[in-house]
């Protein structure tokens, strides 16, 4: 057997990359006014959810149209832990990962039996049904009104250390460590034995099972990992102010998938790029429509139109997304 090129589990490269992203966000936020700082925080939390799709679809070939619903699971579990049990926010975030991972375990057990379109449809039904549970059991989940939670005020030691910290900056500081750790975990996971098993299952199930891989168990593990990530993202997303069904609509699931596809399903850099696009593109379009005096009734649909067209264009031109296109160019230059 030929020697397979493997990376060390804790690679130097992934550590540096995660740290770089962390610093990059902080430096970028210093250049921004408060609104864009909070948009940057949005990117940092949504990136975690997009990474969960990169794992699920890019690395193991399973599709989920319901990552928003899993975000809701994370959001509700953390918000309930804080408001009902009075836990600290940080502990609630960590516990939200475990609750959603447990949810992912059940989902994975069902998903292991499904493939392609069945899985897509089932997760889409889930995306609609889960938020409706909050309305159904209103006394426990507070129905449509939702649970109010926030990041609180920046602690004193931080203001002493770096001076005045605005609410927007504080939300970014809360989210960024989680984003960096999630990025670090995903970067390393794809180079471990588990990551290679996932790719084998993605590319050819029959061949993978002949090579001794337990397909069912592999799929369940992917779902557990991806759901943990999505749940964390959902908890962070909810603590911007409100955890309610309207915060996690079906469109959120589809937007996340779009981000992952535009950037490139198999690329972590692509996930970062795609998340920037879905968060900043609507702002950019708004600026353009304001300048062109396009009526507001048309303007509100333009971001959705642009994102839909971008998704179609990506799939037609290069299903591997921006990252795939870049690689293609680099490849061409060599020859």
């Amino acid at each position: 057997m030929s020697k397979v090129k493997t990376h060390k589990v804790i690679g130097l490269r992934s550590t540096l990359l995660s740290l770089f992203l962390f610093l990059f966000f902080i430096l970028l936020s210093n250049q921004f006014e408060p609104y864009n700082q909070s948009q940057l925080a949005n990117i940092a939390m949504l990136l975690i959810a997009v990474l969960s799709i990169t794992l699920l679809t890019g690395a193991s070939g399973q599709i989920s149209l319901g990552q928003g619903a899993i975000m809701a699971v994370g959001g509700y579990s953390s918000a309930l832990l804080v408001t009902r049990l009075g836990l600290s926010m940080w502990l609630a975030f960590i516990l939200a990962i475990f609750v959603s991972a447990l949810f992912g375990l059940f989902l994975g057990l069902a998903a292991a039996r499904l493939s392609g379109p069945y899985l897509a449809g089932t997760t889409l039904v889930m995306a609609l049904a889960i938020p409706s549970i909050a309305v159904r059991f209103e006394t426990f989940f507070s129905g449509d009104v939702g649970l109010s939670v926030d990041y609180g005020m920046p602690p004193e030691w931080l203001t002493k250390l770096i001076g005045e910290v605005s609410i927007e900056e504080w939300s970014l500081y809360v989210v960024l460590p989680f984003t960096a750790v999630a990025l670090f975990a995903v970067l390393n996971l794809s180079n471990t034995r588990i990551g290679r098993t996932w790719r084998a299952v993605r590319d050819n199930e029959v061949a993978a099972s002949l090579a001794g891989i337990n397909i069912g168990r592999t799929k369940v593990i992917v779902f557990v990992c991806a759901s943990g990530l999505a749940g964390l993202a959902g908890a962070l997303y909810g603590f911007r102010g409100l955890v309610a069904p309207s915060v996690y609509p079906t469109d959120l699931s589809l937007t996340l998938l779009t981000a992952a596809v535009i950037g490139g399903l198999r690329s972590i850099g692509g996930a970062i790029f795609g998340t920037f696009v879905i968060v900043f593109l609507p702002d950019l379009i708004e600026k353009v429509t304001n300048n062109l005096a396009i009526p507001e009734t048309v303007g509100i649909y333009l971001p959705a139109l642009a994102i839909g067209l971008l998704l179609l264009l990506t799939v037609i031109l290069n299903p591997r997304g921006a990252a795939g296109a870049l690689e293609h160019l680099r490849h061409k230059k060599k020859h």
Partner: protein, 303 residues
């Protein structure tokens, strides 16, 4: 009128519409191997076209006919413009892996759904509007007792029944229908026997477009019309198709009626808030008990 009969009649009328949606999904699945998540987006769009025509003083029936024709055209366009180039592409590395070949068309159909919804919002302002029905929605009376079934329900059931009969005749008695069944069963052999498999597939998309467009016309008098109203219908239709068997046309119709009864009985005997959870529970139950569906055949995977 007892609650049971109320649930039964409204279940039949709703189920007839779900059967159309589910039939549309299965038609495309069988002919192209794609679950078209944009299907009800297409139907939403054609229903808006009909609504616009009626506003411009066209008669209901001419708007009805034009909506069905544009449904067929839109379905064919999606296949020719997007799905065919996507699935025929051989060189892309991403499509080399088994799972990606089924994933990419799903993503593409979601893209179409997003674009259609945004366009409908831009063209028609996206506010909820009513949609007329050709029959008054009053309860039918026998003597003094009014039945739980309305004239409109009968119109829906009748139209769907007629559609199903026509579809059955098409698939069993015409050469084109036979060609469609053959290419669903084995495209390679069908191609070798001189049938243009590509055109047959496009025809499948077109017929599916008609069926879903009809479902849109029949459901909106009750639900009103907005870019998002038909999303729920897609979810229900998908569940119906899975319950009946994604590979079986008769199964998809059966699944549609089953879902109609399930939803209507949950509505009457429980609470409307429970409908979503009931759909999810029913879908999961069906997938666990009989993944190939009631009338579906087990998929045999070749290496």
């Amino acid at each position: 009128m007892t609650p049971f009969l109320t649930a039964f009649f409204s279940g039949t009328a709703q189920g007839a519409i779900y059967a159309l949606v589910s039939l549309g999904l299965v038609l495309v699945w069988r002919s192209a191997g794609v679950v078209n998540f944009a299907q009800m987006g297409q139907a939403m769009f054609t229903t808006y076209i009909a609504s616009q025509l009626i506003q411009n003083n066209y008669s209901y029936w001419s708007a009805f006919l034009i909506a069905l024709i544009s449904g067929a055209a839109l379905g064919a366009l999606v296949d020719l413009g997007l799905m065919r180039p996507l699935t025929s592409r051989k060189n892309s590395q991403l499509l080399n892996s088994q799972s990606m070949r089924t994933t990419i068309p799903v993503i593409a159909s979601l893209g179409i759904l997003g674009v259609l919804k945004a366009l409908a919002g831009i063209f028609w302002a996206g506010e909820e509007r009513g949609f007329p029905s050709p029959v008054a929605p009053n309860a039918i009376k026998i003597g003094d007792t009014s039945l739980a079934i309305t004239g409109f329900d009968l119109f829906v059931i009748g139209t769907v029944f007629l559609t199903l009969v026509l579809t059955t005749i098409f698939f069993t008695k015409t050469g084109m229908g036979l060609a469609m069944r053959a290419s669903a069963l084995n495209p390679e052999v069908t191609r070798l026997s001189g049938i243009k498999v590509g055109s047959v597939r496009t025809l499948g998309w077109a017929i599916s477009g008609i069926a879903s467009s009809l479902a849109g016309l029949l459901v909106t008098p009750r639900t009103n019309l907005s870019p998002n109203t038909l999303d729920l219908l897609l979810i229900i239709g998908f569940t119906a198709a899975v319950v009946g068997g994604l590979s079986s046309l008769a199964g998809s119709v059966l699944g549609g009626f089953i879902l109609g009864y399930v939803i209507s009985f949950v509505n009457v005997y429980s609470a409307p808030e429970n409908v979503f959870i009931a759909i999810l529970a029913f879908l999961l139950l069906a997938l666990f008990l009989r993944p190939q569906g009631i009338l579906g055949s087990k998929e045999v995977r070749s290496v």
